[in-house]
Amino acid sequence: MSDHWTEKLSAYLDGELTPADRRALERHLEGCAACRADTERLGRVKEWAATYAGTAPSPSVWRGVRDEIRRREGPAALPIAARRRFRIGTGLPLALAASLALVIVGVGGWLAGRATAPGSGLGAEERGALGSAGAMTIAARQTNAALLAAERYGAAIAQLEQAVLHDRSRLDSATVRVVVEKLGVIDRAIAEARAAMAQDPESAYLAEHFATMMRRKLNLLRSASAVRRS
């Protein structure tokens, strides 16, 4: 690689070289791995710059993210065990029951119609278990609190996905690929945590781990959103 060729790469990608220069550069690229790598990198930069300029991207890469997420979250991908009912005792203290009811009402709109899917919080049966909760051990209360936290994270995840859906994208395709891949990593973790909870529904640790994975998904979306804004 030499400065002579490097200086021509941007003009080459912009189609500004003379035909003779373009042919000469292409011959050089055939034998120079370093220049080929720089050309590839510059190509990605050019792609990114096109979206960064604020021009209306079509289609939105965030719509691509959403579609990919939905594709991966199809009901068929759920383990059967994940739909099992949670068993929680009876005799919930009044104050706690009231606060639970308020929280459940608060997220009720979001809960309606939500499938039991990785990243989307709890299913109807699990919500039913929460609503009929009675007297609980400390572990059961921890479990309940974690599940409710997971619900809130799920609601925030849904809102953030909606928010970015209608926004202009400023992420390059390589970043979108990474974000989608890592959302997949977290979704697998969420599915595994959910399956573990189904096996051991009284484990406060598993419920809290499930909530933690939901929070990680929310944080990843927030990080991606921050990159986009910057």
């Binding site: 790469l9 992420l171 390589a174 598993l206 781990h209 990680r216 990843l220």
Partner: protein, 305 residues
């Protein structure tokens, strides 16, 4: 020669290609350096000046703007900045033009800044290397490695794809990676390190507040525990290894769903705690240590010299 232009935010100074310029900065000035692609290398010196050396093609130039205590440095092809016009001053000839719509190019920055200068640096396809006692530092990169050495002051690193390596650092550290490993070695100060897909290594870290989390990756910590300190290590799919001095004192909680716990310390562990937590106390129990590995093993080892 760098000239001062005070015509508002829409005007910037363009330095001809082959950039090598040095200029004075205010004592509390912050450097805001954003690159498209290439590399940013920052070093420090004991002068109240900033030196910018940049390698780039003849098509590219570098803009420098000082305003309200912020030194903004950009490739001239940067379209997301404030500059709508470029003024070129070369050998007494002055030209102005609107920013072009050409593709950005690779730029290799080497910048020397006053010790203690706060930094806000990064770029979409940019490796960032900072060495020396800079001030509060924020680094953001979509694709590229971040290497910080001998830095003083609070650090925030946001990295989508790339490894983060921090060595010989003092001050609060907040590392948010998505796809990449995090290495922190010989450091002191509160640490928050998270990655979605990658390992986290905290070696020789002296801190009273450490939080390291990954979804798919191993975690490793080696260092002393401060009395009343809080240490949290959690991963979904990976192993956690914590190496502590033999006289370490902590209330310890370990949790795993599908993993094993082993320890050099004498622990009174239940035979089976799959899906559950176990708690025990080391020494005087002064610190709090929480270790979770959903699908991975937990090891608590002696920290040997």
């Amino acid at each position: 020669m760098l000239l001062t232009i005070a015509a508002g935010a829409a005007i910037a100074l363009a330095i001809p290609q082959g950039t090598d310029t040095t200029f004075a900065v205010a004592a509390n000035a912050r450097l805001d350096l954003q690159n498209y692609a290439g590399e940013i290398v920052i070093e420090t010196w004991a002068r109240s000046e900033v030196r910018i050396v940049a390698d780039h093609s003849r098509r590219e130039s570098i803009t420098v703007e000082q305003q309200e205590g912020i030194v903004r440095v950009r490739p001239a092809s940067w379209k997301g900045g404030d500059a709508d016009f470029e003024i070129e001053i070369e050998e007494g000839r002055v030209q102005w033009s609107r920013s072009g719509a050409r593709s950005p190019s690779l730029v290799e920055f080497t910048v020397t800044v006053p010790e203690g200068m706060p930094l806000d640096v990064g770029g979409p396809f940019t490796d960032v290397t900072i060495t020396g006692p800079v001030g509060e530092t924020s680094v953001q990169s979509n694709e590229g490695d971040v290497t910080l050495t001998a830095v003083r002051g609070p650090l925030t690193v946001r990295c989508v794809e790339g490894d983060v390596t921090i060595t010989d650092v003092q001050g609060r550290m907040r590392i948010h990676a998505i796809d990449g490993d995090v290495w922190i070695e010989n450091a002191s100060g509160d640490v928050v390190a998270e990655t979605t897909d990658g390992d986290i290594h905290l070696i020789g870290v002296t801190s009273s507040n450490v939080e390291a989390t990954s979804v798919d990756g191993d975690l490793q910590f080696a260092g002393p525990l401060a009395a009343q300190g809080l240490y949290t290590f959690a991963t979904h799919d990976g192993d956690v290894t914590v190496m502590l001095p033999r006289d370490a004192g902590a209330r310890v909680m370990v949790a795993t769903y599908d993993g094993e716990v082993s320890s050099d310390f004498a622990l009174d562990m239940p035979e089976d705690f799959s899906g559950r937590r176990a708690r025990f106390t080391l020494g005087d129990g002064a610190a709090q240590l929480e270790i979770e590995a959903f699908d991975g093993d937990i090891e608590i080892r002696y920290l040997e010299n």
